[in-house]
Symmetry: C2
Subunit: 247 residues, 2 copies
């Protein structure tokens, strides 16, 4: 047990919320007040420009605790949330904003920036998992899932390839580049893939093509009108983690 992991704790409406810090990485763990050893853990990634306490993420995390009895962890991606941003990351972001404003393609910049973030974030998630699975209410054998769209898929797809403790994942709405496609070919765990059909910046064809590449036998695509900002959570909810993260 590593109680020194946590820097703050409070409980509201049956959900225990604890802040933690591992090196440079700040995170939050939401868990049931009555969590017992083996409680399934869902790692939730945030989208680009957002952070570990973005309202949508917090809502999904609390639902997972209250409805499924799962624990949920979120960490800030490099240069997001509480974390300082490197000059190089800022350069990429400025570049993307300028490209968007000029109506130019952001493809090369997004590919470079997201790949770099993923390279840094994958080991951070792994260290987070190492630390959290030492908690008595989780434990080394707790089932682990990963969930996240957009930037969180750019990070999560290589993460689930590198990290065999993650046994089920939800991805989607992600800008596709070659390194991501190659990573998808090595994903074999059950996945759900969320595809916004009318995203102004990510084509449905690229999403369908990426879905094809996943090597998973158990994979399902959920598509809906609108953009990645308007995921109809209740309409795509198949109790995926409740089915897959079984103690």
């Amino acid at each position: 047990m590593n109680n020194s992991l946590f820097t703050a704790q409070h409980t509201s409406n049956g959900v225990v919320e604890r802040d933690f810090r591992i090196g440079d990485v700040s995170g939050v763990l939401w868990s049931p007040a009555d969590a017992s050893p083996g409680t399934p853990l869902v790692l939730m990634g945030h989208g680009g420009g957002l952070h570990k306490r973005s309202p949508g993420l917090v809502g999904r995390a609390r639902d997972a605790v209250l409805r499924d009895g799962h624990a949920v962890a979120a960490i800030d991606a490099p240069g997001h949330g509480d974390r300082s941003r490197s000059a190089e990351d800022q350069y990429w972001i400025d570049d993307m904003l300028a490209e968007r404003a000029a109506g130019h393609s952001m493809a090369a910049t997004i590919a470079a920036y997201n790949s770099s973030l993923a390279e840094r974030a994958v080991p951070e998630w792994q260290e987070t998992l190492d630390a959290l699975l030492q908690l008595p209410e989780l434990g080394a054998d707790a089932p682990v899932g990963y969930s996240g769209m957009t930037l969180a898929s750019a990070i999560g797809i290589p993460l689930v390839v590198a990290e065999s403790r993650i046994t089920a994942a939800i991805f989607g709405g992600v800008f596709v580049y070659d390194a991501l496609t190659r990573a998808a070919r090595n994903v074999t765990i059950p996945i759900e893939f969320l595809l916004p059909l009318d995203d102004p910046e990510i084509s449905r064809e690229s999403g369908l093509a990426l879905f094809e590449e996943f090597a998973s036998q158990d994979k399902t695509l959920h598509a809906f009108p609108g953009s990645h900002f308007t995921v109809p959570v209740e309409r795509v909810d198949t109790r995926f983690f409740a089915r897959h993260l079984v103690r």
Copy 2:
């Protein structure tokens, strides 16, 4: 109340199963043993060549009764199950089998046959609904849904356009022809659409294009590897009717 509707009844494991006959049409109603007025009713269509008691349909019907407390009705399509087949229907079927064996396109024959079946089946479903909604455990205000893939979508899509009592529907895996596309443009109720991605006879592109045509604001596509014979029910289950058929 119209008790003369039913020709047979038995109860097993909490599900009441009653056979009914309305004119030439034979059907089955599954309902909870403790059904009370306003119980939601799901109309379940069967696929081409199948019938009202095909094992997959019976399994889904019993699940809907036991899990959601819904009633479920199925009827045989014209020339299917207990119903005699007209010479013209037999001609179309022979034609399709010959075309398939010769490796020729079945498109024109399927379009003609399915359109004709739909023209006949839509009023049959409406008469069935008239009769069933007179049962005290349902009643005129019972919420009504429709569910069915392949032939059952070819029938169901024009049915939900014609029949305003149906307020939510699940379709999918259907051979697309012009009349069906035109009907889809008039569908405005919430729908789920199931799309097999690797069906040997129905292209994914035609399914995506049909999904686009539905005028429904609330529509979601669920796609999965394999053919329409291998729908992964548990992976696409979003409790659709439990959310939409509210008393």
